[in-house]
């Protein structure tokens, strides 16, 4: 019997940027998560966090499945970024638009992936539904992303299916352009 081909997109971002929710919103299965209770400062933000990875799945056809892998956001788990980044079709980096402290960390993640896995990348400026959210345009400036860098910054609310789909479609559109230019 022919095996199912797995296609991988990595969802990365700092602690509490909304990766697990992003995956949960579009996954056709209940996302598999590896969480633990947070401690110290982290516990003030949320009760549990991803420590290894979490993933969701979307069935494309009888032979293909699209996997959305979430990587842990904290820098101490950056070895997981490397493991999950290998072979990825593209990368979505989520930032918490209400927390500018997360912007610097997102830039580090972009640098990490761009230097090791130069694959199409999109930044999702998450939590746009909250009143203190920075606009995607301002997030882009704060992240030092130049217009010609080819990394769109898209506003998203990870609890809203249509906006999550929009981020995925933005990434897939970049990939399509790469394929068409070959």
């Amino acid at each position: 019997m022919k095996g199912i081909k797995k296609i991988k997109i990595v969802i990365s971002g700092l602690f509490a940027s909304g990766k697990t929710q992003f995956i949960n919103t579009v996954s056709e299965i209940k996302p598999v998560t590896t969480e633990k209770k947070t401690r110290g400062e982290e516990s003030k933000i949320k009760d549990h966090t991803t420590v290894a990875m979490d993933f969701g799945k979307i069935k494309i056809d009888d032979e293909h499945e699209l996997y959305l892998f979430g990587t842990p956001g904290q820098a101490r788990f950056d070895f997981m970024w490397e493991i999950l980044g290998e072979g990825a079709l593209g990368i979505i980096i989520l930032v918490d638009s209400t927390d500018p402290a997360s912007f610097h960390e997102a830039r580090k993640i972009i640098n990490f992936f761009q230097s090791r896995f130069p694959v199409p990348t999109v930044v999702g400026a998450n939590k746009q539904d909250l009143p203190d959210a920075w606009s995607p345009e301002d997030v882009k400036i704060a992240l030092d992303i130049e217009d010609d860098e080819g990394i769109p910054v898209v506003g998203v609310s990870a609890i809203d299916k249509e906006s999550v789909k929009n981020v995925l479609l933005t990434l897939l559109d970049i990939i399509k352009k790469h394929l068409e230019s070959k």
Partner: protein
Amino acid sequence: MALTGDLSTFNFVDIFQVIARDRKSGILMVEWKDMTVAYYVKDGELVFARPVDKVYRVYAERHFDSLLNKLRISKDKLYKTIEKFFLPRLNNREGIFSFTLGFIKYDSDVPVYIHIEELIMRASRTLTPEEIERKISDELLTFEPSADVEEKLGKAKLTPEEEKVLSLVDGEKTVGEIKRLAGIDDLTVGRALYGLLAAGFIRRKKREVKPKLSITLDLLTKIIEKIKVL
């Protein structure tokens, strides 16, 4: 919409980078430990600073000229407010900021005492190694001079060390190489690169993305169609 944050994690270099990039106008409020100060920004330039006892007072006056009339401050004295309420606080990270875009109406020209590029460079000279690491996170990063660097150079007085670092940025040398060639301590090089980047003197060198895509156009089209109907 306001841009809010904490100076301990998003300092003046970062704030001014966002304000300067598309020449925003508005009011930057900073709640310091000892006072709250409203900083007035016109076309990306800091033009006036005013301590306030009640925040709502700031939003009670939408016209800059009439505000100055009420406060009995002439335009040629505005720089003194920046000298008094902003410059001594460049190194202070204990504050919460909120930048409200627009709101205040500037009905006439306002003199610019110190250009935002100069303020960014001055603020960058106070950065800690931990702060520098946020932007200059990798010795392999490469920067190149911005297209309008010559024009911008007239707006900030660089130190000899910053000029040296700027001269080494050529789109080829990495941060590690610049550190070795500059003959200056790493902290000063890091501060200079951070400031030059935020002020728009230099920019990240674009990386050519050549992905090895193991997927066909047909399959990708199928994925796109699937996502659309989720």
